[in-house]
Amino acid sequence: MAIYVALPLAVVVTATISPGLSFAGIASYLPTAGVDVTYSFLRMVAAYSLSLVFALGYGYYAATRRTSERVMIPVLDILQSVPILGFFPVVIVLFLSLPGPGFLGPNLASVFLIFTSMSWNMVFGVYESLKSLPTELREASDTFGLRGLLKFRRVLFPATVNRLVYNSVLSWTGGWFFLVEAEIFTTNRSGLPGIGSYLSYAAAGGNGAEFVAGLFVLILVIVALDFVVWRPLGRRAQRYRYDQAPSGEGELVSPTYSRGRFRRAASYVTRGVRSGVSRLSTPLVQLAAIRIWPNRRPSPFRRTAISYVSVGAILVVVWLILIAMVIAVFHVYSGPIAPSVQHQILQLPEAMGASTLRVAVAYALCLAIAFPLAIHIARNRRASQYGLPTVEVIASFPATALFPAIIFVLVPYLGPDGVAILMLMTGMLWYLFFNLLSGVRSLPPDLEEAARAFGVRGRRFFRRVLFPGVFPALVTGSITAFGGGWNTLIVAEYLSVNSSHTLSVLGLGQMIDIGYVEPNGIPLMVSALLTLVATVIAINELLWKPLYRRSVERFRID
């Protein structure tokens, strides 16, 4: 509760005591900031309404029609494991080509983008609540002959409410992050008035008061939404749970529901990881087994090796074919590709390596922060009580809003690569932290007691009890964190605040941006996007998926 007041206050206080800023100065910018935040908010509301309708419809059909389920769920799996933001420039180009007033294109593009980032997790919420509706409840509604609207009102919709509310909170958090990122991305270009572009302009002009006013308004809106909408809704949604909780235990209303919601988000992502290209590798393994070792089954190690190599090979081939197709299509329809663009397309493998390395470094740094922090907060009552709500509110604030200022202030100290990695970290840290926190918390107390009874302490305790116990959560956290990282690449590697303050480091995110900005750059943009998608799928299939399987097999605690 106190945190709602404390956080906005802290921003104002720090701002007013810093040199060159005054309270009156900040206040004078509040009206414009308010207007811009309203634009952003309306975009969020539009995207959320779309997502809600879409989630109810898609989730319902996927959950109730066996044949639709077989197509609809895999499609969603693949869509959600792909870095949505990478598609933003492409979507803008598409929507800009639509007829109608000029402001329509970027607005539709940004609403569409937020929609894609919000809807999948809500669809899974609806789908899974309907799927897990206890058979008896379904039968009870059938025995009394409920149909149509009455069935929707009394059974189907209430069944989805609990998950829908939790997943909506998550959707809004992700939505703000992407919205601000999208608005920053289009600043100076097609014009998308909103808090992201407001902050970008403020930073470009070097106007501290203007920037702080924007931050203040944004925090105010997010905190107010949480306080006025999400927490009350979350409390009410408790009633809609249908687990068989014994009486008395049902009324728990935890203020810290993000634990569940991040864990759920994690499970959706891992689900995505489990599907996709990997299915292709099974027949190849069998084929290789027939050709190479006609008389004996290949050893497990060889099978693994073959499946790795074959998945890798398939991806490389598909990637090359797609890029060749892109180039060919542009060659035919828009004439030869400019030499500078050609040169950059040839740089794609190098950019891929650089981006992957950056994401990996950011991940390592996040892990170094998140692991100790999660252990501390989970195992310390006071930290749990006071630290966690603070962390939750901070985590729900879109770090993208700070990017323009980060570039201004930190590039001289950290260098462009350092700043890029820092920005990536803001898009990765929370996934890792909340997953690890839930992992440490769900460690059964009797395991800990057993360890203590046998005198297992310190490093041995970490190696033998804590780390294996947390491993599944670590894997899901890592998968979601990497997903967040890929999504942040597009602004983390290239962000132009003004001509003297531009961040640009070689990478796939940068290539996508450059392709978008430069004339004739579209082939580059599309090729870079395809490369990014291929990289994400490759890392999911070759690294996370095997790790996930291993964690389920070996480290699950039932």
Partner: protein
């Protein structure tokens, strides 16, 4: 004139490797004012049989007749009481009881009056606005019972209604159900109880249909002609229990699968 005729009913479920036969050639009848129990070991298809009778599922072979008519959709003249209560956690007690009446399209006031009546019949007075989560198991099953009775069914179907309750609660609820059934002013005409508890069946029912283990077949139909209230400690009660128990556990031509029913000692 029988109320329900179950005629040569087969049921099998398709699985990945062909199909599993749940029950084979099951036949019996339910008469007016009958209290019929179906007992059998776990997995013999007792609960499935109840669902077939109500029309929630269709038999693979044979047919089920209710009042001269084949049951081919969900039958509104029967109502089910579920093992785990099947109450909707987002509806209050009163709303849960009104659940079936709304589907019948009754008016608001008529629903309210009916709900009030059955809430008081089942001893739920004062809990109208409570949510199922706030109730004990016994109270929850009363809500389940009130919901089933409120649509005034001719046949009350009960699927292991006491097995999720503690022994004391179950005992008092059994007595109450017996009283409801004997009250001519109240529905239902007939009760069909599925249970794996032989004593419970003998205590409550007029007749017991004994099913074999999977695939379920009718091993015997046992008439319980002990006077009510029945004394569990009487020799006649004990002898009947023993008879049904040995019917279920007997090795013989009826048991095709390997192994014995779980928990059943050899007789």
């Amino acid at each position: 004139m029988p109320l329900i005729q179950v005629e040569h009913v087969d049921k099998s479920f398709a699985t990945g490797h062909g199909s599993i036969s749940i029950m084979k050639d099951v036949s019996f009848i339910v008469k007016d004012a009958d209290f019929l129990a179906i007992v059998g070991p776990s997995g013999c298809g007792k609960s499935t049989l109840l669902r077939l009778i109500q029309g929630l599922d269709r038999p693979t072979g044979g047919r089920i007749v209710f009042h001269d008519k084949g049951v081919d959709t969900v039958c509104g003249h029967m109502a089910m009481v579920f093992q785990n209560f099947a109450l909707f956690p987002w509806l209050t007690v009163a709303q849960n009881v009104a659940f079936g009446l709304e589907a019948l399209g009754w008016g608001k006031e008529r629903i309210a009056a009916q709900v009030e009546r059955y809430i008081s019949v089942t001893g739920l007075d004062g809990f109208q606005e409570a949510y199922p989560r706030e109730l004990s198991g016994g109270m929850r099953q009363r809500v389940g019972l009130a919901r089933a009775l409120s649509v005034e069914p001719e046949v009350l179907l009960m699927d292991e209604p006491f097995s999720a309750l503690d022994a004391l609660t179950a005992e008092s609820l059994r007595e109450e159900i017996l009283q409801l059934w004997r009250d001519p002013a109240l529905p239902p005409d007939a009760v069909l109880l599925v249970t794996h508890n032989i004593e419970e069946a003998i205590q409550l029912a007029d007749r017991i249909v004994v099913l074999s283990r999977r695939p379920g077949r009718v091993l015997a139909e046992v008439t319980v002609d002990l006077p009510r209230p029945r004394d569990r400690k009487s020799t006649a009660f004990y002898d009947l229990t023993d008879k049904v128990f040995s019917l279920i556990t007997q090795p013989g031509p009826v048991s095709e699968g390997p192994g014995t029913p779980e928990g059943a000692p050899a007789v």
